[in-house]
Each structure stands twice: as C-alpha cells, then as structure tokens.
C-alpha cells in the first residue's frame, strides 16, 4: 500500500469534519474519492499532505508514518498535491511555474522537457504568464507543475472544477495517462461519472464518513451513487 489512512479525524476549530475515515491506495492505482460539497474530501486531502493536522488517526505513505508532519516534508515522501482551483502563480511564466514545481528535483531541466512533451500546449505558451492561460491550460500547468517533482503519489483536488466540458474530458484523459507513468493517484472529485471511468476503485464520502467503497465499475451501477450524484437513471456523462 502506498497510502494508508486509518481512522482519520480532522476538524476546523471545534467542528469535526472528518469522522474516522480509513482508506488505502495501492501503488499504481487510480483511486477516486467522491462526495458532494462539504463532505470532507478536501479536509481529508489536506490532512494527508500535512496542511491540516488531524485530530486523531494514522497516515502511512509507503509504510512510513507521516501523521502530523508539516506539509513541506511531503515532497520527501514523493507526494504532491494539486490543489483545488489550480493555485498557479499568475504573475510567473509557464516555465517559471514549472521550475518551481521541480524545486527539489536536481534533474528539473530534464524533467521540464518531459513535462512539456507531455503537455504540448504548455510548450506553445512557455513564456506566457500563468494568469493569462485559459482555465483548462491552467489545470494542465498545475498538473505539469506537480509532475516536475517526479512524485510517486499524486493527490488531485477537483481538477475538473470550473472547466468547460471539452477541457474536463482532456483533464480526465491526462489523469488516465498518469497510470502509464507508473503514478499513483488519489483523485478527489465531484464529477462521478468521469472519475469512475478513469479510476480503478473509489470511495464515496458523505458528511465526513465513507459510505461506500468498491471497484469503480461497481460503484457506477450502485443505486445510492446513482441516486445521490447522477440523477434519475444516472445517464449523465462527462463527454
């Protein structure tokens, strides 16, 4: 197991938002974490990366306990978070944004070429300021910036949020390709159909608790998932 979380409880002040969650991700897997707004998904992710110290629980990355470690240490565990809303540096160029992502990577110049080959659009806009990119391109930049650190475990927080449908499709295709790179992905999303189509397994979170776990294909047909997220008949697609 590359990531193991046991009985994690997180709170914002006195308000507990994650009530004893357990999950795991095997090396090379893409695992989805689904849930509506306010379910506690982002808090859980922040706890894993070290941005939100958990109240209780255990976190192991590659077998090493990381619970309570500061966020900046996560890079030594080869874990990178792509935060919600991209959080790129708007006043820096695409190249500078990418190089910041590879700050710890001594081979960043080499990795830059790898990333630019992977996202040709970023090469086209290499000297453009990050803030001038479209939403989809900014998301690609955020993904590219994460890849600059050559992570083993990638935590993606709602990468499809606020994107045009065509870009959503492209982002999910990129995530699917991460598997070929040998990356392990924990994908936090509200886009159920898209996530379940790229993920191997998924967890469904509601009000701070995991209510379902299973193979992605099974969850796609789970009545509770269909009713809660896909509307009647569950025919919504991300294409």
């Amino acid at each position: 197991m590359l990531l193991q979380v046991k009985n994690l409880r997180c709170s914002h002040g006195n308000l507990e938002v994650v009530h004893g969650v357990s999950l795991h991700v095997r090396a090379g897997e893409i695992v989805g974490l689904l849930g509506a707004n306010g379910a506690g998904k982002t808090s859980l992710l922040k706890s894993i990366i070290g941005l939100l110290p958990p109240r209780q629980g255990e976190i192991y990355i590659d077998g090493r306990p990381t619970c309570g470690q500061p966020a900046w240490r996560s890079i030594s565990n080869a874990t990178v978070l792509v935060p919600e809303g991209k959080m790129i540096f708007a006043d820096l160029t695409v190249r500078e944004n990418l190089l910041i992502g590879g700050y710890h990577n001594p081979d960043r110049a080499l990795q830059l070429e790898v990333v630019l080959d992977r996202f040709p659009k970023l090469r086209e806009r290499i000297h453009q300021l990050g803030g001038t990119l479209s939403g989809g391109e900014q998301q690609m930049l955020a993904l590219g910036r994460a890849l600059m650190a050559r992570p083993k475990l990638l935590l993606l927080d709602e990468p499809s949020l606020g994107l045009a449908p065509l870009m959503v499709k492209e982002v999910f295709n990129e995530i699917r390709k991460m598997r070929d790179l040998g990356l392990t992905v924990l994908l936090v999303e509200q886009n159920v159909t898209g996530t379940l189509q790229v993920a191997d397994r998924a967890y469904v979170m509601e009000t701070g608790e995991i209510t379902l776990e299973g193979e992605a294909a099974d969850l796609l047909h789970n009545p509770e998932v269909k009713r809660a997220y896909l509307g009647k008949g569950g025919k919504e697609t991300w294409l």
Binding site: Q4, K6, R26, L212, E213, D218, N222, P223, E224
Partner: protein, 405 residues
C-alpha cells in the same frame, strides 16, 4: 495455479485487514443510515480496528425471520432485482434480496471457485440440480463471467443427465452429491464406461466425505471438488475449495469470525441485504495459515448445524416443520423421531399397543395420510414407521446435524 482474481485472492494479510476495516466502517454507516432495526441495535458503536468488531451486536437468523420480508433491506425494493427465498428457524421463510451489483459480484465470486476447479472459457458446463435449487443461479452467473458454455437445462432425471453427458460432451458437471451418486450408481448398473464421457471436473454443491469423493472420482473418471455455502449469506460464493482441498473464505467480501465454535459472518459488500455479524448456526474452525495454493483467505473447516436443521433431498428442514405436518394428521401429538435415509425422511411415530393389535387398516390409512402430507406440504418423500411405546423413543434435536452439511 488457477486464480481468477489475483489481487483479492492473494491479498497480503495487512492489506486485507485494512480493506476489511474500511468496508466494515462503510457498512456501519450504511446500516445506521438505511436500516432502522440495525440503527437501534448498533447505537453509537464505532469500529476503529477489527478487534472492535466484538463490541458490535450480532444479527441472528431469528432477526431475519422477525423482519421478514424486507425489514433488514438497506435499499428500496425498486433497487432489488432478485429475490431468493430460503428457510429460517422453525421453518419460517426468509428472503434474500440482490441488487444488480450483488448479482455481478456473486458471479465473480463463483467464478473464483470455477477457475480454482480448472474451468476455463473452453469448457462446456452441465448443471444438474433438480428444480428450485437457488445455487444453480450462482453457478450460472459464475460460468457466464468466465465465458464457459453452459447447458442451461436442468435435467431432472438421471437418464436425461446421462444422455446430455453423452450428447453434448460437457467437460464440467456441477451437481449435488446425491445426484452425482445416483449418476454413478446408474452408470455402474448399466456398465457404462465413465471414460467414454468427457468429464474433467465434477463440482459438488456441498462438501462430502473422503470415501464419497473417491467413489465419485472413480465412478465419473473426473476430479471432484466441493463447495460450501449458506443460503442466507451466499450459496455458492462464500468460499472456494482450492487445489489443496481447503475452503478459502472470500475475505474481501465476508468477514469471518468464530464465536463459541459458531461461524459468524459479516457481509462487507452486499448492497441489498447487508448482514452484520450474522450467526450462521454452523460450527466451524477457521485457520489463517499459509496455503500451498497461494490464496490468503482464511481456511474454513465446516462442521455440523447447531440448530438441528436437517437436509432431505437438498431441502432444509426443521424439526418443528415435521411436527406441524404430523399435527395435521391423526398422528397429532404422538411422540416421533426422524432420520434421513438418502433422499427420504424416515419418520417413526409411536402408537399405542391396542392400535397395533386391532387396526391394521387404520395404520395403513395413517401411513398414506402422513406420506401424502409430507409430499404436499414439504415436497419430500417420507417413510413412515410405527413403533410401540415400549421402544426407547425420543426426538433428538441436532442428532443428525452432520447430515446438514
């Protein structure tokens, strides 16, 4: 090694326990949210490790009976696409619901057994259960998952089974031990050479002793494997018999414990009717040891029934059902004892000496009446014997428990 689902069947123990913990936690949340009876019983109990499971309440067969038909279902009926019925304590009916996912998972679990038995997509599978055995559906789903050819015809008569074996040349026969033994007996009587059939594997719906297994293997010239399941949980699909002859529980789907010698199971993935710590009323031993087959699921050694349930011609039967049938006849209220002889039940009823002496015609009438009541009400054939009160006679609940499995 023939392993269908490497990831789950050979999952390292640490990872399996993490998966079980996650699934139990999610199950508790679903039960608390969706099942009123479970919510009342569970209360605020939480599980932070598998050891905490001991603090959770049991579900008993009586709970299932009390909540009959749909009281423990965790989803609305419109999501339940299959209902199977079985018999619970006191012979009262139980209903097991399955959603689309439940059925898909059932198929994959049975496929594990079929693959372990060496069945492949190139095989032709014949099933021979006799009408109404719901396990046949599970084997059908499993065979479909591995894309084996299935002869979807349930031959009720042994002649027809032999004809099918000769005409369609199935390589795999899935059947009950009783049917398999009948087949061997008839083939021996007719001096049919089992090698002229093309059978490679015979899969039995329940465990048999070593002698029966050897007799069937010789009589059908095929490898014989057994299965073990429980109607309320899953039958087949609870566990598989590996090449080394051990029953491995599918521990990614069922959390198995032994409480006072009784097998207690928690369904981890079932959507329609999830059961928390279900007391199966079956004795067993669980061994978590390394197996030569490479599977990591706990090895189960099933024992007898704890509730005195009998099995007559694959039909589960409780003692009070027998008493109820007798109560409808002129033998009402008389002491009786029962035993199982092959596919029939032998009912010994105590009658008074004067009846023995005076009324042979009366006894014949009573015999006919009892036999017909058993056939009509329970669908089983009965041999009725009358004995005098001087014989030492009493009913022995559980005396035939070994027969039940």
């Amino acid at each position: 090694m023939n392993i269908f689902d490497h990831r789950y069947e050979t999952m390292p123990r640490a990872e399996l326990e993490q998966l079980q913990l996650e699934r139990v936690q999610a199950l508790l949340v679903r039960l608390k949210r969706n099942v009123r009876r479970a919510r009342e019983k569970i209360g605020d109990a939480r599980v932070e490790s598998l050891a905490d499971l001991a603090r959770l309440p049991f579900t008993t067969p009586e709970d299932l009976v009390e909540s009959f038909p749909y009281g423990l279902f965790a989803l609305p009926m419109r999501e339940v696409i299959r209902l199977h019925t079985t018999v619970g304590p006191q012979g009262r009916p139980l209903v097991i619901g399955h959603t689309r996912n439940d059925l898909a998972q059932w198929g994959r679990l049975v496929a594990r057994q079929l693959v372990a038995s060496g069945v492949t997509a190139n095989d032709v599978v014949q099933m021979c259960f006799g009408g109404g055995v719901y396990g046949a559906a599970g084997y059908l789903f499993g065979a479909q998952v591995i894309e084996a050819s299935v002869i979807a015809e349930d031959s009720a008569h042994v002649d027809y089974t032999i004809a099918t074996l000769q005409n369609y040349r199935p390589t795999v026969l899935i059947t009950t031990p009783g049917n398999a033994l009948d087949l061997v007996t008839v083939m021996e009587q007719r001096r049919l050479d089992p090698q002229s059939l093309h059978l490679r594997t015979v899969l039995l719906s329940r465990p048999v002793d070593r002698e029966t297994r050897e007799r069937l293997a010789a009589g059908l010239f095929a490898r014989v494997q057994c299965n073990f399941g429980l109607g309320e949980i899953l039958n087949p699909g609870l566990c598989l018999e590996c090449e080394a002859g051990h029953f491995h529980v599918h521990e990614d789907h069922f959390l198995a414990e032994v409480q006072e010698g009784e097998l207690v199971l928690t369904t981890l993935c079932r959507e329609a009717l999830p059961l928390l710590r279900y007391r199966t009323r079956v004795t067993c031993e669980l061994v978590r040891d390394k197996c030569a087959c490479g599977r990591t699921g706990a090895m189960l050694r099933p024992g007898g029934r704890l509730d005195g349930r009998l099995r007559v011609n694959e039909t589960p039967l409780y003692e009070n059902q027998i008493a109820d049938v007798l109560a409808r006849t002129k033998a009402a209220g008389r002491p009786f004892s029962v035993s199982v002889l092959e596919r029939r039940i032998v009912v010994s009823v105590e009658i008074s000496d004067d009846l023995f002496a005076d009324a042979v015609g009366l006894i014949e009438d009573l015999t006919r009446e009892i036999e017909s009541e058993f056939l009509v009400r329970l669908g089983i054939e009965a041999d009725v014997r009358f004995i005098s009160p001087w014989s030492h006679l009493h009913t022995e609940p559980g005396s035939d428990a070994g027969n039940a499995i």
